[in-house]
Amino acid sequence: MSFSNLTRRGLIKTSAVAGAGLALPTYLRADGHSGFTNAPTGDTVTLGFNVPQTGPYAEEGLDELRAQELAVQHLNGEGDGGMMNTFSSKALKGNGILGKKVAFVTGDTQTKSDAARASAKSMIEKDGAVMINGGSSSGVAVAVQGLCQEAGVIFMAGLTHSNDTTGKDRKANGFRHFFNGYMSAAALAPVLKNAYGSDRKAYHLTADYTWGWTQQESIAAATEAMGWETVNNVLTPLASTDFSSYIAPVLNSGADVLVLNHYGGNMVNSLTNAVQFDLLNKEVNGKKFEIVVPLYSELMAAGAGKNVEGVIGSMNWNWQLQDEGSKAFVKSFGEKYGRPPSNSAHTCYVQTLLYADAVEREGTFNPCGVVEALEDFEFDGLGNGPVLYRGDDHQCFKDVLVMKGKENPTNEYDTLEIVEVTPRAQVEYPHDHPMFAGGDLGKCNPGA
């Protein structure tokens, strides 16, 4: 067989095509002349809501989607307006964005970076989306953020808690409203000290991927600073379903606190397993054994059922907050869907409003304009008290909630209670903090 011959011919052919390509000017999309990708031409503007609809986080994705739909309604002036009434910026008028009616497309990230990028690409290439919002994992957020940077659209991250999203992997076109591992740790440490004392030995179980690592690093640093000792940190494979072999050795390790750096299904299972091993009823070093879950979510608490009772963790926002913004949001969400919103739903809703507001204030959909409007933007009335969108790394700074599993929940949504609202000043950090170092925002990219 003489394939070598043929492949060489193929190569020549390819290069010829490439040469022809070089000679051509680079044609851009027809609407590219306005200077940025997917500039809306008609009387509508399209937003892309990219959330997990299949796989383990499907339920969370569904809740994000509900919130995003609600946000679009409010932007278009339907419904009761929700948080638009309490938002400190009054640029939004309920007539869409810049007078254009808001339309949206949805996609399935499958919680896989590949699939999420494919889905986001189809929104950008096929549907002409100017902004991508949503997601429920840091891996996906980082991947989609990178894509949006290349394509020249804005990425408003959904639930992503890894330090890297606005640290090592920060991008000029990407914005994160959600809090991160460092902020969780800073908020939790004082509460843990009050509740469990400053002489504790902690045993970490950490999901073996980027988010798990950054969270473990943050929690270990914050708890060690107040006097705790980290006895061990065991990495558990993300694909694990049964954590018994990681939990069994904990009791005899001399540790008296177990920190579960897990999220989603991992957390539901590891917490269930830990309670099975009866850890919470044991005494070690003369102290009652405790479990800490640094990142909570309502859906995880629902999945773990009674096992969350008395377990402390942190959250970005909770529907039980009593400020005007939160109350307005819970009311319009609850009336539409018959359930209180989760904290990922809140983040997606707020992110959508923030984007719309930025466009409105700047008077353009151009991503660079949006970036300018959002950088160092201070606002209030969207839950969480006064918030700052820091320009250096596109991270939001706001109060963090410390939560605890409720002992006797009265209904299915009442699984967690707010222990403390840690003020923003306590969780702030310089943008070049070592845990966030190595990143480069780059320049905003308007695309075409």
Binding site: K13, Y27, R29, A58, G107, D114, A115, S122, G438
Partner: protein, 402 residues
């Protein structure tokens, strides 16, 4: 033509026309119509069609010809992607070094895995390949090698990306900051607006399509070569082959390596179109997907795997995006009650329920079309040309699976 028999030439030409006219064929509906949802002619999806087509063609060279069912083929896809992205990081965004390396590296991996796995046959072979692929997946997902060296090699679950701080030795300011071929960007797209229609002609797509046609041509040559005959003999009765004193292993190993190189090439192309290599593309589900594509399209046929690849990717990308709003807009012409009823009926099968539709279609296809989608095509063909049934049966493209 091209050293092919007449019917193969015809097939190649049909595939070529379909591939080159894909931007038209896949965008049959005007952009503003309700049916535009079903348009698949945007660059990313078209690229996926042909890239996964390459993967499936390669898989079929192994499975269709020798009957060896590899359940770890996604490993080569992943290895190819990682190699390509590493070339982008080290040398720059020109895709040629990446493509070359992805083929070489996947060939090396295929040689090693194939050499060991081919000592067993049947399900034992399948499980060996699965085990190797799952090992590679675990290593990539938690970046175990990177942890050993202290620097990211696969960058874990986030996926390997190119950073501005990477060396990119051959990169300079005149070159685009995204994958390109000697300066021509993969992303560059010319959009043709005709009346209500809009057609995207993307450079990246055409590059992929041409490579796909070359690999398809190569596959036909292999199918028709003495080497292909030998592989088919292995499939029909390996023992008899061995009794005649012939060692079949080198042949099957060669098929395995070629097939692995196809997968590596697909992986390299995937990274070239979108410079990120995620570990999920090595997981068993991805390997399973290749198997499904091939069987669904028609294992052992030339064009079947391409059809299967297109079918699955279409559902993943188009059906997942249909939400209730879209459904309402389709049925808005109906009276309110009926509209809501229709939406309720269809709702479970689209959007977050796209898996359900895919599962049902798998079952329907395999129950009613034992030869895969290719058989469906033939049945339709027979309906239109009843006069020559014997000719169809003799068509070389319809070699049955077993």
């Amino acid at each position: 033509m091209f050293g092919l028999e007449k019917r193969d030439t015809r097939l190649l030409i049909i595939v070529a026309i379909m591939a080159l006219a894909a931007p038209f064929i896949l965008n049959p509906f005007p952009t503003d119509s309700a049916m535009a949802q079903f348009n698949a002619g945007y660059p990313d999806l078209m690229q996926r069609f042909v890239i996964f087509g390459i993967l499936a063609i390669g898989f079929n060279l192994l499975f269709g010809l020798t009957g060896y069912l590899s359940f770890g083929h996604a490993a080569f896809l992943g290895v190819g992607s990682y190699s390509a992205v590493w070339m982008f990081k080290l040398l720059g965004y020109n895709i040629i070094p990446g493509m070359v390396l992805s083929i070489i590296v996947s060939a090396v991996f295929a040689l090693a895995i194939g050499y060991i796995s081919l000592r067993r046959s049947g399900i034992y072979f399948s499980i060996l390949t699965l085990a190797f692929a799952q090992m590679l997946f675990a290593i990539a997902y938690s970046d175990l090698i990177g942890r050993f060296f202290g620097t990211p090699i696969t960058n874990g679950e986030t996926g390997l990306q190119v950073y501005t701080s990477d060396p990119q030795y051959f990169h300079n300011e005149n070159l685009p900051n995204i994958p390109h071929l000697f300066g021509q960007e993969m992303q560059s797209t010319y959009t043709l607006d005709v009346a209500g229609w809009s057609f995207d002609f993307s450079f990246g797509y055409y590059l992929c399509a041409i490579i796909m046609l070359l690999t398809f041509y190569l596959a036909i040559r292999i199918f028709r070569s003495p080497f292909g005959m030998m592989l088919r003999a292995v499939k029909s009765n390996q023992q008899r082959m061995n009794y005649t004193g012939l060692n079949t292993r080198p042949y099957t190993l060669a098929a395995f390596v070629i097939s692995g190189m196809y997968a590596g090439l697909a992986g390299g192309l995937l990274a070239s179109m979108d410079p990120l290599a995620g570990a999920e593309r090595m997981q068993w589900t991805a390997s399973g997907e290749v198997v499904l594509m091939t069987i669904l399209g028609g294992a052992g046929t030339l064009i079947g795997p391409i059809l299967g690849a297109g079918f699955i990717k279409y559902f993943e990308n188009i059906f997942a995006k249909i939400n209730d709003n879209v459904l309402h807009s389709w049925f808005s012409f109906m009276p309110d009650g009926i509209e809501d009823f229709m939406v309720t009926i269809i709702h479970p099968f689209v959007g977050k329920g796209w898996h359900l539709t895919l599962g049902l279609l798998f079952m329907l296809v395999v129950i009613f079309l034992p030869g895969g989608l290719v058989e469906g095509g033939q049945r339709i063909g027979r309906m239109f040309s009843r006069k020559k049934p014997s000719d169809d049966a003799a068509d070389g493209t319809t070699t049955p699976a077993e």
